[in-house]
Subunit: 237 residues, 2 copies
DNA sequence: TAGATTGTTAATCGATTAACAATC
DNA sequence: TAGATTGTTAATCGATTAACAATC
């Protein structure tokens, strides 16, 4: 729609939308850029820029109309029609996801799970567990675009390529394998990219730890620099 | 240590390290920047730049020595001493995390869970479930730096502030609440930042869906532009 | 030597931030 | 009017990419 809409901005648009819906629920009609900025942790300038990009114009004195914003943002982000999602890999994580559907936001629904192990297949339970052999057909028939990858690490790459082949466009990756879309896409001659988000908890924590250590080191170095400067200042006396 | 080390780079350094350890396990001794680049999905130039920043120098003909790299990266990222992590909120997600410890990478260990509901407390099981009142003391005593936030949304902000107060420096956030560290930090007079990573599966999927739609729209617009150009070209005949 | 790879510098790209004129 | 807020432009910042000299 507009090539000025980029990744971080989409994230913000989604956050605005959520806040706006709550504000509307509270009976508000208008909102200022600084209020929305506070709510999602951005500066007012960013908010105005974002709205400018999506084409919403405010009133110089009265701010923005909440209904207009909700309408435009919903349109830009895509109609909030319910989205069907599948899970591949019916091990512990897959099962947990299926059972704890509550995690899902409105409109997002897990409609099937797939597993290579025939023993796990079942049509009982809240979500059917189907054979991997049915996977491509199912994806096409139901127009599935988003899949959760929750298989053992050693088959992750293979299953991912299956997904890309089948037409999956977005993957939430619970394995600790780095999925490279470019390669898989090229190998299979598909032109459209597949977006991968990583959700491996171990990896996330590991990365958190590294970042914290890095910050601490930087802070220590900064303090040392300050100390050194202080020493220098002293020595100048 | 070096202010040229930034977030994305830390992520890459961790990935290099993992690959290097595997390569070493296979008996390799040297490695070229393009091999590592392929492995983690980066260009050789990025790899060389990264190594240059952390101070590892290679051999113009023979590439980099794996042992040297492993040594330096381990040092830069912090010794792989085991890191103790706690979970706050012993509901479904919290319990799942505790039971599926396997997700944890080597060196990462969940040592305790905290819950405000006294009925859930227990010293049985793989991980003790303690009262929230014990939380600050426990964090100080055990030098806990990283916590997983798995409480209901409506108490997320409060619990997060408790965490920051107690000295937690990194949070893996399973709620769908936007945790703003700046505010909490300022309010409580703490100078050090707290790093938050979001792991809410619903949010992740929602965002995936938005990004996919955006890409499709952009592609459609691009195709339309191409069509228009083609039409123009035709009309010129 | 010739070829291949490193290491560094400059250019580019993308997004955020700052500044300020317009105007309700 | 005076004050406050929008909307846009220019400046800045940060990271990646490209290019190429150095050299094994």
């Amino acid at each position: 729609m507009d090539d000025r809409i980029h990744g971080p901005m989409v994230l913000r648009l989604a956050r605005y939308l959520r806040v706006l819906q709550e504000l509307k629920g509270l009976g508000l009609v208008k909102v200022f850029s600084n209020n929305l900025g506070d709510a999602i942790g951005a500066t007012p300038a960013v908010v105005r820029k974002d709205f400018s990009v999506v084409g919403v114009t405010g009133n110089k004195r009265g701010g923005y109309t909440i209904d207009t914003l909700i309408g435009t943002l919903t349109e830009v982000l895509g109609k909030k029609e319910s989205e069907d999602v599948i899970v591949v890999g019916c091990g512990r994580i897959g099962t947990a996801l299926i059972n704890y559907q509550e995690f899902a936001r409105e409109g997002i629904r897990i409609v099937a799970c797939f597993d290579a192990n025939e023993d796990r297949l079942s049509s009982e339970g809240p979500v059917p567990v189907l054979s991997m052999t049915d996977f491509p057909a199912f994806v096409h028939e139901h127009n599935i675009e988003v899949a959760v990858l929750a298989v053992p690490d050693h088959v992750a790459t293979n299953v991912f390529e299956l997904m890309v082949d089948a037409g999956i466009r977005g993957v939430l990756n619970f394995t600790s394998v780095e999925l490279k879309c470019g390669a898989a896409c090229e190998d299979h001659g598909c032109t459209e990219e597949c977006t991968v988000h990583n959700a491996n908890i171990g990896l996330e924590i590991e990365n958190l730890i590294y970042l914290i250590r890095l910050k601490r080191n930087a802070a220590a170095a900064g303090a040392a620099a300050v100390d050194a400067a202080a020493t220098d200042a002293n020595s100048e006396v």
